[in-house]
Assembly symmetry: C2
Homo-oligomer: 211 residues x 2
């Protein structure tokens, strides 16, 4: 089971510093969509030059021009790139093809997917590396949790890895880890903690205990 | 009927130069998603400082953290911001609220929306300023056109304006304009033309002839 730190609300310099501080406890560091929108792919490049053995995920949430966007993210140092599960099949397929051509991975973000079971099965067949159930900020505010969706996706896929994201914190990661996803994504639970290093260490220990 | 130039594949300096060259013929200039991903919102800022009476649209294709993303785009000079029609209602509503708070507009991009008629009616009720039928690059490659979708959306909305995008060129804009949308979006048809100014002029004349 892998642990990913998602960084959404810092600038690229602060994001890289945070990643270095907690690097020993995480497998993947994510440059979140808000940073990409604010600063562009230079934030991904800066992160990839700032970490050592940690993979870098570029949360582009691609919707169109998928092959081009994946190639750009990889050019700037991304190991994993995200596309939206609601995107057209043609976009998903060209994103997967482009990522694999470079030996990189594609994560499909299932945010706002309505027919979760059917779509996960389709994406699994298309060759998605990760399928991520994700309760976004705007639905977290309404009290929605991604746990039930995680079970649904796990039950229908056979090749893809399953990731889970959405408001997971050191205090709540235990119940998520108990479901044995392949990847748990923690954002503010580490990034906004008083002691990010201690929060990352706690998450790592719980993830490892369930691995 | 308004005319928008979408710029996707230039850097921010070249994009601003192109906008200045054709400014007399267009109402809105779009910083496309690929530029936002490559360079961030500084591209929107540079464009807004480079044009005079032309509105600037930031094609963020927002999917989450909608209020925050709209406020950021406006801070960097956007007059119109885009969100995806497939986003959750909570996201759409907070995006509309944030845009209107600043006297700006929201365009909902219907790319990959499956239940077009129902969703357009919902977005019209939520107060979307523009509803844009959009055949993306990845489906244009399969020969899909947005005209039928334009008729569908026009038939169900009563308050929103209707926009149309997807492979429209000086040679094909006539049939689109004949459908009388409120906004026609042309990208490569102007940006990649041998003479962008002549292409923009031709588009403007056809748009005005149908206004």
């Amino acid at each position: 089971m892998k642990l990913q730190l998602a960084i959404d609300l810092l600038d690229q310099v602060e994001a890289a510093k945070l990643a270095q501080e907690v690097e020993e406890y995480i497998d993947i560091v994510e440059i979140g969509t808000p940073i990409v929108i604010n600063e562009g792919l230079s934030a991904v490049e800066h992160m990839s030059k700032s970490v050592n053995n940690t993979q870098v995920l570029a949360d582009l949430k691609i919707m169109d021009a998928a092959g081009y966007e994946v190639s750009q993210a990889i050019k700037f140092g991304a190991d994993i790139v995200t596309i939206l599960g609601v995107a057209e099949d043609a976009s998903i397929k060209s994103a997967i093809e482009e990522a694999h051509k470079h030996g990189k991975e594609l994560l499909v973000d299932m945010i706002a997917v309505q027919n979760l079971e059917q779509r996960a099965a389709e994406l699994d067949k298309m060759g998605a590396d990760y399928i991520a159930v994700h309760t976004g900020y705007d639905l977290q505010a309404e009290g929605v949790s991604p746990l039930e969706s995680l079970r649904t996706v796990k039950s229908v896929i056979s090749n893809s890895k399953v990731a889970v994201a959405g408001g997971i914190k050191p205090d709540t990661i235990e119940t998520v880890a108990a479901e044995k996803p392949d990847l748990i994504i923690v954002g503010g639970g580490i990034a906004n903690a008083d002691d990010p290093k201690a929060a990352a260490k706690k998450c790592r220990e719980i993830v490892d205990a369930h691995a």
